[in-house]
């Protein structure tokens, strides 16, 4: 058999002609809608939304697909129905006036009826045929045809007439929804309607777990077409029915190269200098009071400042409280709310089942089209329910946000403790879905608690491995380098004290150094002076020497001359003597 593949809008044509329901999510699960021209059975217990689903099918058929429809009701009357669906924003009166929808209330009370022989339900057929012809209906709802079983005594006749009815509807090419009450035990419907409506069976279910009810939808059977077989949570919200849309099972979403700032400059610096990728998912986890919400709020404010739309799903604080509290750290969200760029949706986690919270998110995101979504905290939303369905549900959310190129900031509350182990994080199992994971911690040193932050992972970018101290003040969020050294990491006033101490030590050291320098300098001067003296002495000695030498030379010269004079003189004397003696 072919593998079941969930349809993405523009894939190959569906195997059967389909009548789109226009109901968010349902058309994806059924790969295009209900079987066109055939009846579909919607089964479920009382109050699980059969009538609403059927009504929305008609209203959307009439308004979005130009297929008028007949709503034939056997239980509620027309006024009640109109009142009930008005809460979904459908104006039936208007549609009836415009002949887009015809309402017909069939009232049966068994006590009024006496059976006196063979009969058939031709009256119903004629009435239905007339209603269909009066507005050219292509769609029909019978809600719920089982009331006939209570009203008409002869079940054998009724069964054969129902069989004829569904064949008749098929022959007329009417796309019909037949609703049916859930039967006891494993029976799909109380009176076995599934026996007649064999083409498509959708089962609705309402379950209560931990006092929270969740509605689910499952396509039990869809002849001749592939369909999703899982149970999908759904919700009846203010804009109608929505089944939690199932995104494609393939991991093929577009990725953006664009980066968006977290609003904290130094945090951006830690994330490769530019912040996170648009459309990525950021998990901020930390124990209570580590500042997760503050970072999330800053992120949203920054998005608004860029002109992007942002949605904040808060599950701990009310809207007014968030605005007030964020103002205390210099984040003013109010102007953005007023401008319509920021939407804060606050509700209690226990208000709805976690899947229904997702449906609410889907609804809001679809309508509001934000570029950034914050869920604060996602852990409360999901981890209250300790079941195995959480991960796929969360995966669907994250996957869907990525497909829509919406940047998601999810905060996760970890159990307390100064340095919680990573496994304490309830979301550790889904962290693999996250692109960026910021870990916030409280570090308790010297009688005070300080916040630290580090980037645990961040795909696709060089990111800092440093632990930073994370400071919240009325000026906003700032990151400060922590003191790292001597096997210690210090934060807060301990860091300041240490820094001051080091500054003092450094000053002292510098003074000492200068003193030494000065000492050396003066010593050198002394030596230089000595050198000068010695040199002067040497020069003096040299001069003396020269003088002596010169004197000596002079002496010699003089002596030589004197000698010569003497000799000359002596020679002269001798000559004179010789002359005198007569012996020259």
């Amino acid at each position: 058999m072919a593998t079941i593949k969930l349809k993405v809008a523009d894939e190959k044509p569906p195997s059967l002609p389909k009548a789109p329901t226009g109901i968010v999510g349902l058309d994806e699960i059924t790969a295009g809608g209900l079987p066109a021209g055939r009846p579909t059975l919607i089964a479920g217990s009382a109050g699980c939304g059969k009538t609403m689903l059927a009504m929305e099918f008609l209203v959307r058929g009439a308004t979005e697909f130009s297929e008028p429809g007949v709503f034939m009701m056997f239980e509620e009357n027309a006024d009640e129905l109109i009142a009930n669906v008005r809460s979904l924003g459908f104006d039936l009166d208007d549609l009836v006036t415009r002949k887009m929808i015809a309402l017909d209330h069939v009232h049966i009370e068994r006590s009024d009826i006496e059976e006196t022989g063979a009969y058939d339900l031709e009256g119903l057929f004629i009435r239905l045929g007339h209603a269909i012809d009066s507005i050219g209906a292509k769609r029909l709802v019978l809600d719920t045809v089982e009331a006939l079983f209570a009203g008409l005594p002869n079940e054998a006749i009724l069964r054969s007439e129902l069989r004829r009815l569904f064949r008749w509807l098929k022959d007329r090419g009417i796309t019909a929804i037949i609703t049916g009450e859930k039967g006891d035990g494993t029976a799909i419907t109380r009176h076995g309607l599934e026996e007649y409506v064999a083409d498509c069976v959708i089962v609705l279910d309402q379950r209560v777990r931990d006092q929270i009810s969740t509605r689910r939808l499952r396509v039990l059977k869809y002849r001749g077409t592939a369909h999703g077989t899982n149970e999908y949570p759904f919700m009846i919200g203010t804009s109608g029915f929505s089944v939690l849309p199932v995104t494609s099972l393939q991991l093929d979403h577009r990725v953006s190269q664009q980066r968006v700032s977290t609003g904290v400059q130094r945090l951006d610096e830690m994330l490769g200098g530019q912040g996170v990728f648009r459309g990525s998912s950021v998990l901020i986890s930390g124990s209570p009071g580590t500042g997760k919400s503050s970072i999330a709020a800053k992120f949203l404010e920054t998005a608004c400042q860029r002109g992007d739309r942002a949605a904040y799903f808060a599950y701990e604080e009310s809207k007014a409280q968030i605005v007030r509290n964020m103002r205390s750290i210099g984040i003013d969200l109010e102007p953005w709310i007023d401008k319509g760029l920021l939407e804060i949706h606050a509700s209690r986690p226990t208000h709805l089942g976690h899947e229904q919270h997702l449906v609410v998110m889907h609804d809001l995101v679809r309508v509001f089209k934000p570029a950034v979504v914050a869920v604060d905290p996602i852990s409360n939303l999901f981890m209250a329910h300790d079941d195995a369905e959480v991960k796929p549900t969360l995966m669907r959310l994250i996957d869907w946000l990525k497909t829509e190129q919406i940047t998601a900031v999810l905060t996760s509350l970890t159990s307390g403790g100064a340095s919680p182990s990573e496994l304490d994080d309830p979301l550790v199992g889904v962290s693999s879905l996250m692109d960026t994971w910021l870990l916030l911690r409280n570090s308790e040193i010297a009688g005070e608690r300080n916040r630290t932050i580090f980037v645990r992972k961040s795909r696709g970018m060089a990111h800092s491995n440093q632990v930073r101290e994370f400071v919240l003040s009325d000026k906003g969020i700032d990151l400060v380098d922590v003191y790292v050294g001597r096997d210690r990491v210090l934060t807060g006033s301990a860091r300041m004290a240490q820094e001051a101490q080091e500054r003092a030590a450094a000053t002292l050291h510098a003074q000492d150094h200068e003193r030494k320098l000065r000492l050396l300098a003066s010593k050198r001067k002394a030596i230089e002076a000595q050198i000068a003296v010695l040199r002067a002495e040497a020069e003096a000695d040299e001069a003396e020497l020269d003088f002596i030498v010169a004197e000596q030379t002079l002496q010699n010269t003089i002596e030589n001359r004197d000698n010569a004079d003497i000799i000359r003189r002596r020679v002269g004397i001798a000559r004179m003597n010789a002359i005198a003696t007569g012996n020259p």
Binding site: I113, E114, E115, T116, G117, Y119, D120, I126, R127, H130
Partner: protein
């Protein structure tokens, strides 16, 4: 005594089927037997003016409706079970029906 009939009966049929023909014949016979001179019968073929079916909430055919005397009773089927027709019309049979 009174000329105004106490039983204003309306028989809904859908075309001239075997069931509708049988129902009319049965009705006529029962009325003649038990309500001679006190009844009128109006036969409405739903195929002709279908809008009427909405007002009287007719699903099954043939359906016999007793108007004018409250409460309105609906008797469905071809009226072959005479005893039940009489119960439905709230008529005391002139000859005691078998238990």
């Amino acid at each position: 005594m009174s000329i105004v009939p106490a039983f204003k009966l309306r028989l809904y049929i859908a075309g001239h089927t075997a069931k509708s023909v049988a129902a009319f014949a049965n009705l006529h016979r029962i009325c003649e037997t038990h309500l001679a001179g006190q009844y009128t019968i109006e036969v409405i073929d739903l195929r002709e003016p279908p809008q009427l079916a909405v007002g009287d909430q007719i699903l099954a055919v043939p359906t016999l409706v007793r108007c004018l005397s409250e409460p309105i009773k609906k008797i469905i089927g071809d009226l072959s079970n005479e005893a039940r027709v009489l119960v439905g019309l709230d008529i005391k049979p002139s000859t005691q029906a078998t238990a």
